[in-house]
Symmetry: C2
Subunit: 411 residues, 2 copies
């Protein structure tokens, strides 16, 4: 048992309060995952006619639009194969993952192997591969599926997509890049996080050595370059030398994105047995949560400006499902790994807000979009951005972390 | 006096109610334009150091970001030269227009004469010309300035930009177009409206004959192709043959855009002395207003889905300044041109909402963005989308229309 594991054990044992024990939360999240969320997607998202998944599902699961967004296809393949790999060898889940993977293999890529952004239900390409996230989730999908049912073909898709991302990393958008070259070059916080996460997902294919080479670079980039101690916050975009850009992009803070990144970093800290790194990631996460928490209505704001200027995003004050799901994971991990009671207090606070506002007791699954006041803004269960991903991943993570199981190394 | 003018006269004379006469509204709008809105931009938006205008102005007029968005540069040049041409020969206004035009001439275009989307304060290009609206407002700006102070150079800029727009019209986005060719070709409602409006603005340069050729084509396109009698609404995007596309883009309704277009059409109807066209445009406008009016909180919703599905735009329920400004113009014109009492009732209702919620009594000018409940969502006076354009244009139009002056032919 490592120091970290003892820390987890200690934390779990000493948690008692009237609102529920970690074990009771674990049971609750497990139940929500297995009895509400996964069944919802199994029941409603499968396109039996053309293959792949519908993700534009109404509150009751009814399909309201048939377009297929490739990154959401990849995320759902990833999700069902991940659950097969990590929860139980449920053939229904594996078949669901295979169902999406067949559609992706057949219709997902252009001649250069780039993944389209979207297609029609039949698989005819609609929107070009202007966005590297489609590739990212395709690589994750086939790597995860390859763990469930090893196949040279899946490995090959995962690894060629990964190499393509590495090749495109400094100009993701390629010909679709609208920035005039040289005037204001900024680098984005998304990139190191994507590469790190991807390499971990592909570790069984690309090898531990490559992951171990990449991890310290990513950690330095995130914790020393994008993180700004003077604000205690992570910026979304900085100059190539790490300097602050006083522009809309440069001032942008996305609290949910930071909080999500901090649990990735905590996982890396655990992997590297680096308690100081875990502590730092946990502190940044707590500070960002405090900063992003809406003091008036509760919930975590979507976008902010580090200088308090008006952000360009009109949806800045909305409360989004993924932000809250990621916060629950980060807080559970923060607590398990550090025993910091602030994490547990915050966990219960975010849990209460999230379950009261996002969860749909009537039809299952969770709403995606609330207004600032916490009312449902759009009641669909999926669309162009929300699919079968953040909620089930978070439910699984919180369940396993609060059960006290060591899952960091399984990622 | 034409039949239309008599109609205006009749309408104005018979309006009496406790909430104010058309003449009193006219005085109010005139005052707001001349004593609050134009002075605000004159005082705060001029960049004395680098030329051009700042448009990212805080509630109190303070510059919070120095980027320059070319379409907003064009709109402000247009606005001050338009006021000089139509209100009074105020040299301060002309100088303000010339100030922006010099910056645009010097820094606005790439080697092919396409207008950049944005630049730094100094004029270094930031975002490429991916958007035809920059060109549209540049052409309008130089055509309007040419009326104020005739110049072969201004004419040449206006006309070459116009021809460039005509050339690019079927593929505005050019290399930045992310749609996969052939799968789902849609045409946008914006295009005919832009071409019509532009040709009217350039009439003194390109000639009345060209405008008269274009007008019936545009009217047919808007009123017979994009307008769908089965819904009583105008769709933002349709198939090339005019058929409905059951997709996010195809289902999209933008009430403010329709309402704005309907006052353009009413102006065209007046120009062509076509009372039936005016009547139809007025009816569509009233129906759209009724459809888009938020029955719960008041104000006009930003985006809707014609089949009642969830729109993709997260900001769908927000109340925007330009939507309400355009509605005031459309209602004033509808009333003046048809005498329909519904227009006058609606005018007062939209006036009350707009002045109560958007107008900033403390610092002058108007807020741009309210949440659904009508509270200020972002308190800046300008940014990437809001500049010196919709509010002053609407104030001028309502003032002049309600004064009973024939301004349709002056456009």
């Amino acid at each position: 048992m490592t120091a970290d594991e003892r820390n987890v054990g200690f934390a779990v044992e000493t948690m008692t309060n009237s609102e529920g024990t970690p074990a009771s939360y674990a049971a609750l999240y497990r139940h929500e995952l297995l009895d509400s969320v996964l069944p919802f997607w199994l029941k409603y998202s499968k396109d039996e006619q053309h293959g792949g998944y519908f993700t534009c599902l109404g509150r009751d699961g009814k399909v309201y639009d048939t377009d297929k967004f490739m990154w959401l296809q990849g995320r759902e393949v990833w999700c069902f194969s991940y659950m097969y790999n990590n929860v139980e060898k449920n053939e229904t889940w594996l078949n669901m993952a295979l169902h999406g993977a067949r559609f992706m293999e057949k219709h997902g890529r252009d001649a250069e192997g780039n993944w389209y952004f979207s297609s029609t239900a039949e698989g005819k390409p609609l929107v070009q591969p202007y966005n590297i996230f489609s590739d990212c989730f395709a690589a994750m999908a086939f790597a995860s599926l390859d763990k469930a049912t090893p196949s040279d073909r899946y490995k090959e898709i995962a690894v060629t997509t990964f190499e393509n991302i590495i090749r495109r990393q400094h100009n993701w958008k390629g010909i679709y890049n609208k920035a005039y070259p040289g005037t204001r070059t900024l680098k984005s916080f998304s990139l190191p996080m994507i590469l790190c996460n991807l390499s971990l997902e592909l570790e069984h294919i690309i090898g531990t050595e490559r992951v171990n080479e990449l991890a310290p670079i990513v950690i330095r980039e995130v914790m020393d370059v994008f993180y700004k101690p003077e604000h205690g916050l992570i910026l979304e975009n900085v100059h190539p030398d790490g300097k602050f850009s006083n522009s809309f992009e440069g001032r942008l803070i996305n609290p949910g994105h930071t909080i999500e990144a901090m649990w990735f970093i905590m996982d890396l800290g655990k992997r590297m047995n680096d308690q100081l790194l875990i502590r730092k990631a946990c502190d940044i996460m707590l500070h960002t949560l405090d900063y992003g928490w809406d003091k008036k209505y509760g919930g975590i704001l979507y976008f902010m400006d580090v200088l308090g200027m008006p952000p360009q995003q009109l949806e800045w004050d909305q409360k989004l499902w993924w932000v809250h799901a990621e916060a629950l994971v980060a807080l559970a991990k923060g607590y398990a790994l550090t025993g910091d009671e602030r994490c547990w207090k915050w966990f219960k606070k975010v849990h209460d807000y999230t379950w009261a506002h996002f969860r749909d007791e009537q039809y299952g699954e969770w709403f995606g979009y609330l207004n600032r006041q916490g009312e449902v803004l759009l009641n669909q269960k999926g669309g162009k951005w929300k699919g079968c991903f953040h909620i089930p991943r978070a439910l699984y993570q919180v369940w396993k972390v609060l059960e006290g199981v060591d899952i960091g190394s399984k990622k």
